[in-house]
């Protein structure tokens, strides 16, 4: 076998491996985003119940509650892009966070069984969403690294792959969560 033939086979093999690894990384990102999406949907499903339970009491937070309802209907629109979903999630997380803090100012709400139950469900879901977000970010980082690093960057640009956005991890997620305090509140 001539040297040039061996060289062609080796180069071909390297190209195939690079191509496959890029496709695998892209699919991994998509797969994990599907899981994030499922968790986010679960949270959106809780919103109508939450709004209905707290709106009677929360006079001062009317606009935040309206924002939450609007965000939910935006999220439920068909054909919204992954980037939009990421942006909506960030807004929803901060709006829900402020509602949960505001609940502390309403003794009636704090004692309400239904609200307590919702609060716990949301807390649990937040933990799961946070895990899914972090997994997604890792998959995107691996994917984006491959897009920028030599030699896969040449192949990626030939395939038309574009870098993807990561979820912003809120500072509050990095803090120690005191579950006892949340529940006893």
């Amino acid at each position: 076998m001539s040297t040039s033939l061996i060289a062609v086979i080796v180069i071909g093999l390297v190209l195939v491996l690079m191509y496959n690894s890029l496709v695998a990384k892209k699919n991994q990102v998509q797969n994990i985003f599907a899981s994030v999406d499922t968790q986010l949907k679960k949270r959106y499903d809780l919103i109508p119940n939450l709004v209905a339970s707290v709106s009677k009491y929360m006079e001062h937070e009317k606009s935040t509650l309206e924002d939450i309802t609007k965000l939910r209907s935006d999220a439920n629109k068909p054909n919204i892009s992954d980037e939009d979903k990421i942006a909506l999630d960030a807004k929803m997380s901060s709006a829900l966070g402020s509602i949960m803090i505001a609940v502390e100012n309403y003794p009636d709400l704090k004692a309400n069984e239904n609200v307590m139950h919702l609060q716990r469900s949301l807390n649990e879901l937040e933990e799961q969403i946070s895990a899914a977000r972090r997994t997604y970010n890792q998959a995107v980082t691996d994917y984006n690294n491959a897009l920028e690093m030599i030699p896969t960057n040449f192949m990626a640009s030939a395939m038309g792959y574009k870098p993807k956005e990561v979820f912003q991890i809120l500072e509050s997620e990095r803090k120690n969560i005191n579950v006892k305090e949340l529940f006893n509140a």
């Binding site: 994990i32 899981s35 716990r120 469900s121 807390n123 649990e124 933990e127 799961q128 946070s130 895990a131 899914a132 972090r134 997994t135 970010n137 890792q138 991890i169 997620e173 990095r174 120690n176 969560i177 005191n178 579950v179 006892k180 529940f183």
Partner: protein, 320 residues
């Protein structure tokens, strides 16, 4: 649960009369051990010398005789300190455990069942497993158990001779975890990245075929200390929140030994590789010495304190 300084107080105040008596016993036992072993060694040496001169026995005989000598010395030593060891466990270790938490039970001759050890998937299944100092009970209504474990693998050489190598020797802790999970997450000390550097190390780790897929965590300090394998990427991160990762790093630093964690079934398994039998009385050092006392108090307090340290008592809603 008592804190460490309360425990140290308890060790020196309440246990002091017993300790003093036991330390006297220790001196007697030490004297007897030296006497008996010196006498035995003398006779054994003389006999070996006689047999070597009497016939043309070679190096093999000398080697075999050496092995037999070590085995007999070990046996005699264990026999001589047996009563002293038992007395120490009954009068010092047991009260210490009850002082930390009265709801815990202690059995000095038992160990964590092999089922738990195998299920943890931290190590390969052992051919021989023994241990002692089994503690079991509930802390803040969280089931907890731990003991000394020595797990060994059997090997056979070409001549059919058997030998054993240690898989794990140290403290093995099992406790109920505060979150629901369905898959397995295994956390091992990161030796590959430390030895071969980040690039080759992580390539080696991702190609470890005996484990599930490698999971990279988003905490640099944690990644430096540990390597995570799991069957579900998202669940591993659900278990390993930023808070828990910090706590695991702290636990590793505090113990000063290699630490292994696994999340299987509903439990967290923690294996701390001390490479020695814990909770055994010292023979050559005084029991009244501060350093000796603190070793027992520290280890017990750390093992029993795991529930509060890792906040296993703060269950999420779904687990209530």
């Amino acid at each position: 649960m008592k804190n460490k300084s309360e425990l140290t107080d308890f060790y020196y105040k309440s246990l002091y009369p017993v300790l003093k008596k036991l330390d006297e016993q220790r001196k007697h036992v030490l004297y007897r051990v030296i006497l008996v072993l010196s006498f035995f060694s003398l006779i054994y040496g003389a006999l070996t010398y006689f047999f070597l001169n009497a016939s043309d026995l070679n190096l093999d005989f000398l080697l075999a005789s050496g092995v037999v000598y070590i085995a007999i010395v070990g046996f005699i030593y264990k026999f001589l300190i047996k009563d002293y060891t038992q007395e120490f466990k009954d009068t010092i270790i047991r009260p210490l455990i009850t002082a930390i938490e009265s709801k815990l039970s202690y059995a000095s001759h038992m160990h964590v069942p092999q089922l738990h050890f195998n299920r943890s998937e931290l190590f390969s299944h052992p051919d021989k497993l023994n241990g002692n100092d089994f503690v079991k009970g509930e802390i803040d209504s969280i089931p907890l158990q731990f003991s000394d474990i020595h797990a060994q693998k059997r090997h056979k050489d070409s001549k059919g001779r058997e030998s054993y190598s240690t898989i794990f020797k140290g403290l093995f802790i099992v406790a109920e975890f505060n979150k629901h999970f369905h898959h397995k997450t295994i956390i091992l000390p990161d030796s590959a990245q430390k030895t071969f550097g980040d690039f080759i190390g992580s390539w080696l780790q991702s190609n470890n075929f005996s484990r599930d897929s490698l999971i990279k965590m988003d905490n640099v300090a944690f990644e430096k200390e540990f390597v995570v394998y799991g069957s579900d990427q998202i669940e591993a991160r659900y278990i390993l929140s930023h808070t828990l990762m910090e706590k695991l790093i702290l636990l590793k630093k505090r113990s000063g030994h290699p630490v292994y964690f696994s999340f299987v079934g509903a439990n967290i398994h923690i294996a701390i590789y001390y490479d020695k039998d814990l909770f055994e009385p010292t023979l050559y050092k005084s029991l009244l010495k501060y350093k000796t006392a603190m070793e027992y108090v520290d280890t017990l307090h750390m093992a029993i304190g795991i529930v509060q340290e890792l906040q296993l008592n703060q269950k999420l809603w779904s687990k209530k």
